[in-house]
């Protein structure tokens, strides 16, 4: 056995290190269309200290380290492009502190979103965090490392805007805290200290997030979803403008999909509403439907297609089975709300060209400041050609985003390249400086956000 393996066993215990071909196989693939990338080792540390020791070890051996949370990015972001050690962080899953009145919770980064939601439901039912629509096994740290967005995106923005403190392990092994927690044990704010949050959105290429303080928000007793439906995609931006002006919704998502047939060429704007009483709910509905949207209803261009549906955990995974093939991947992009019509039309066309039923979805971020779009492509995992086709559609969609002047969200390597090519030279240089300073041996998730 080699020295790295022995050292890893020493750090995390033999049960939680593997070089078995089966494990290397398992960790070489993710859910999407990316080509596999094999690690040399898999290790599942339990503590920040262990992470730190592993990073020091990796620097000694110049071995890449790829942090892995739920592995749900779909875009191959935690697949080793250059071998190395996969750090499966899901054993670092404790919920460390809940400050209910202070509205934050401190968690280890490998805790799953499902776990946190369930925990809050039991221990602080009047609070919630912004959970992404991803499968519940997605981790807090992984989601922040790619600037995810969840069901509070409209009122409060990106999930990475909702943190009040972080503990990170730098690529060289030092453990650092960022925010008020750097001066003591209070994890209530990142500001107004000098900005050091150099880890959000970096795909783990600048360090490993090990603890996070997440801001919590009021969770009301009654949570329901209404759906407003329009036929003309050009109306979507103005309707969202009305809705965000009223500012009464939680999550706001516009979506159109070929299947099931009822949503074909229609745009379903789902409006999450939550309140503590029926009266408050009805008050909101009066403002939204009887005031802001009344015009569309009267003209007959928009209608309430669903009212008062209970909010359930989204099961987006089901989309993977449209081709009875256990796979789908989407391109995510951040664009202005006004681009919805174009995003829909062009996306549906790409899908049609590849014989994949289209799904275009846009989630409002902030008060309509941007929208997270996704274009999903289902494929059949057992059919190489179908995978290749989906991959092609994904790349065309990446190109489309660039053409529209958008930003690709959680880009796969192909998309990262497009973005870096287009990026301002000085910005690029700054990224490079940050990266080189933090990760002198370039061991952290190499191949991602790599500036030549």
């Amino acid at each position: 056995m080699d020295a790295v393996y022995r050292a890893l066993v020493d750090i995390v215990g033999s049960d939680y290190v593997s070089v078995q071909p089966e494990d290397l196989f398992t960790y070489s693939k993710d859910l999407g269309t990316s080509e596999p990338g094999k690690p040399d080792y898999v290790a599942a540390p339990k503590t920040t200290g262990a992470v730190s020791r592993i990073l020091k070890l990796a620097n000694e051996h110049k071995t890449p380290v790829i942090p892995l949370g739920g592995g749900m990015s779909l875009a191959g972001l935690a697949l080793p492009l250059k071998g190395g050690i996969i750090l499966d962080l899901k054993r670092m899953d404790r919920i460390l502190e809940l400050n209910e009145k202070g509205r934050y919770v401190v968690v280890e980064a490998g805790a799953s979103h499902g776990k946190l939601t369930s925990y809050l439901h039991k221990h602080a039912p009047r609070l919630m965090h912004s959970e992404p629509g991803a499968p519940p096994a997605a981790t807090i740290g992984g989601n922040l490392a790619i600037h995810g967005q969840g069901d509070l995106a409209h009122p409060y923005g990106f999930n990475s805007d909702m943190i009040a403190g972080m503990e990170v392990v730098l690529p060289t092994g030092e453990i650092c805290r960022i925010g008020s927690c750097a001066m003591g044990e209070k994890w209530y704010t990142l500001h107004p200290l000098p900005d050091l949050s150099l880890f959000l959105g970096w795909n783990g290429s600048t360090g490993i997030i090990t603890k996070v303080s997440l801001k919590l928000y009021p969770c009301k007793k009654i949570r329901e979803m209404d759906i407003f439906c329009v036929e003309d995609e050009n109306l979507v931006p103005e309707i969202l403008y009305e809705l965000t002006h009223a500012g009464m919704a939680g999550d706001l998502v516009a979506m159109s999909s070929k299947l099931p047939p009822y949503s074909d060429r229609l745009h379903m704007i789902s409006i999450a509403l939550s309140e503590d009483s029926r009266q408050e709910m009805e008050f909101k509905r009066q403002i939204l439907f009887d005031t802001h949207l009344a015009k569309y209803i009267r003209e007959g261009t928009g209608g309430i297609s669903m009212a008062g549906r209970d909010v359930e955990r989204p099961m987006v995974s089901k989309a993977s089975d449209w081709k009875k093939g256990g796979g789908f991947e989407y391109v995510g992009a951040i664009l202005p709300v006004t681009d919805y019509p174009e995003c829909y039309r062009r996306g549906a066309a790409i899908s049609a060209a590849h014989d994949i039923p289209y799904t275009v979805l846009g989630r409002v971020i902030g008060a309509g400041h941007a929208m997270m779009f996704s274009w999903s492509y289902a494929f059949n995992r057992a059919d190489e050609q179908s995978i290749a086709q989906a991959r092609k559609a994904l790349h065309e969609t990446d190109d489309l985003v660039m053409e529209l002047g958008g930003t690709i969200w959680k880009p796969a390597v192909y998309g990262q390249k497009l973005l870096l090519e287009k990026m301002d030279a000085n910005t690029l240089q700054m990224m490079k400086k940050v990266k080189t300073m933090l990760d002198p041996n370039a061991i952290m998730n190499p191949g991602h956000w790599e500036v030549d």
């Binding site: 776990k115 099961m315 256990g326 057992a382």
Partner: protein, 394 residues
């Protein structure tokens, strides 16, 4: 090597590896698949296992002892079936069992599995003990042999051979007598029910055992069976009809709750026992029986039932299903499922952890010792708890 006739070749790729299957119903953690909870590496989760099986079937990876261990470490607890949102859900365990069948056929088994199957084949029980000793546990009890009574009481291998499970079998006999149920046992003429063997992928042996039991039941005119073990219950109700078994089977908690309803079984008093109950997978998720055991416990006056957070459909498997209680592939760690389960039980503050399955009983009792909690928490079968409260000497 490619496994050309793998039965689920047309659907196994449809697992998305999205991991819903790791959770209990309330999504409280990723640790409700016992194999994954023990190892915390993706290969040991339901999705990881399915992807590996597929890779083996398509020839992308080779068989290895480690692969076989991963495949056999699934306890067939059915948590994943409950949680998977995709249409493959109902077939997840079948896909694993089919892979085991391929391994059986090729003689590619983990040694512990091979040994268990050999013992069943040679001796008719997983312990490898002589078949003629199967009835010894009941010799001092003077239980009637079955000869046309209303019910046949089917004990199974654990209750017959394992000293701890024998205590439960004894308690059950006493309780049924007290409840005025007319029953008899088979003693040394009982054959293995074949449930675990079937889940271990040895179909031929399972069918042989099942047919043997069916023939014996038919010969004796058995119409209704009470089982000590939920594993036997599941085999009798779900697998035997396919082979022509035409008798009714009940778990003993179902029969007892009936006797309680009619008043045939008097309700005892307990001095404020605090009890938590572990749902065995083959009684709960497989046979959808969550109420009867709770009714029986609830009938004990003054008994406080303190549920664990993970109960009913969300029960965490003790780690013993589909032969794992004999092969112990998930043992040997603080994170062995039975030990996690003991810690969950201890959290309720209960003094007794009750269950209704001899496999769970044995594994949980070992685990309570390993956790050093045996002075705080007694592991008991429900029938033992009931006997004790009723003052029936055991």
């Amino acid at each position: 090597m490619r496994i050309s006739d793998y039965q689920y070749a047309d659907i196994i790729h449809r697992c998305f590896r999205c991991g819903y299957c790791k959770f209990p119903a309330d999504w409280s953690d990723v640790t409700n698949c016992p194999a994954y909870a023990r190892h915390r590496m993706e290969s040991w989760s339901s999705g990881g296992r399915l992807w590996l099986i597929r890779a083996w079937v398509t020839g992308e990876i080779e068989w290895s002892p480690y692969l076989a261990e991963i495949v056999y470490a699934c306890t067939a607890c059915r948590n994943c079936v409950e949680k998977c949102p995709l249409p493959i859900a109902d077939n997840i365990v079948n896909m694993v069992v089919a892979a085991r069948s391929e391994m059986v056929e090729r003689g590619l088994l983990p040694p512990a599995v091979r040994d268990v199957l050999t013992r069943v084949q040679q001796r008719g029980n997983p312990f490898g003990l002589p078949a003629k000793k199967r009835g010894e546990w009941a010799e001092d009890l003077r239980v009637e042999k079955f000869s046309g009574q209303d019910y046949l009481l089917y004990i199974g291998a654990d209750g017959s051979y394992d000293s701890r499970a024998q205590q439960a079998a004894t308690a059950l006999v006493r309780l049924l007598e007290k409840a005025g149920v007319s029953f008899g046992i088979l003693g040394k003429n009982e054959a293995d029910d074949g449930n675990d063997v079937a889940f271990m992928g040895e179909e031929g042996l399972a069918d042989y055992l099942m047919e043997q039991t069916i023939a014996r039941f038919r010969e004796l005119g058995v119409k209704q069976v009470i089982t000590l073990s939920p594993h036997a219950l599941y085999a009798f109700t779900a697998q035997y009809p396919r082979l022509g078994g035409d008798f009714q089977a009940y778990h003993y908690t179902q029969v007892l709750s009936g006797q309680l309803r009619t008043g045939a079984l008097p309700t005892p008093q307990s001095g404020g026992l605090r009890v938590t109950y572990h749902d065995p997978c083959f009684l709960g998720r497989w046979s959808n029986e969550y109420k009867a055991p709770r009714k029986v416990l609830g009938a004990i006056g003054g008994l406080q039932l303190a549920e664990m957070e993970r109960n009913r459909k969300s029960s965490l498997c003790c780690g013993g299903g589909s032969g794992n209680c004999y092969t112990d592939l998930l043992g040997g760690s603080e994170e062995s499922p039975a030990r996690i389960r003991i810690r969950q039980a201890a959290e309720t503050g209960a003094g007794i952890l009750a269950t209704a399955c001899p496999n769970c009983l044995v594994l949980l009792e070992d685990a309570v010792r390993a956790e050093g909690l045996d002075d705080k928490l007694d592991v008991r079968d429900i029938c033992e708890v009931f006997c004790q409260a009723s003052g029936i000497p055991l």
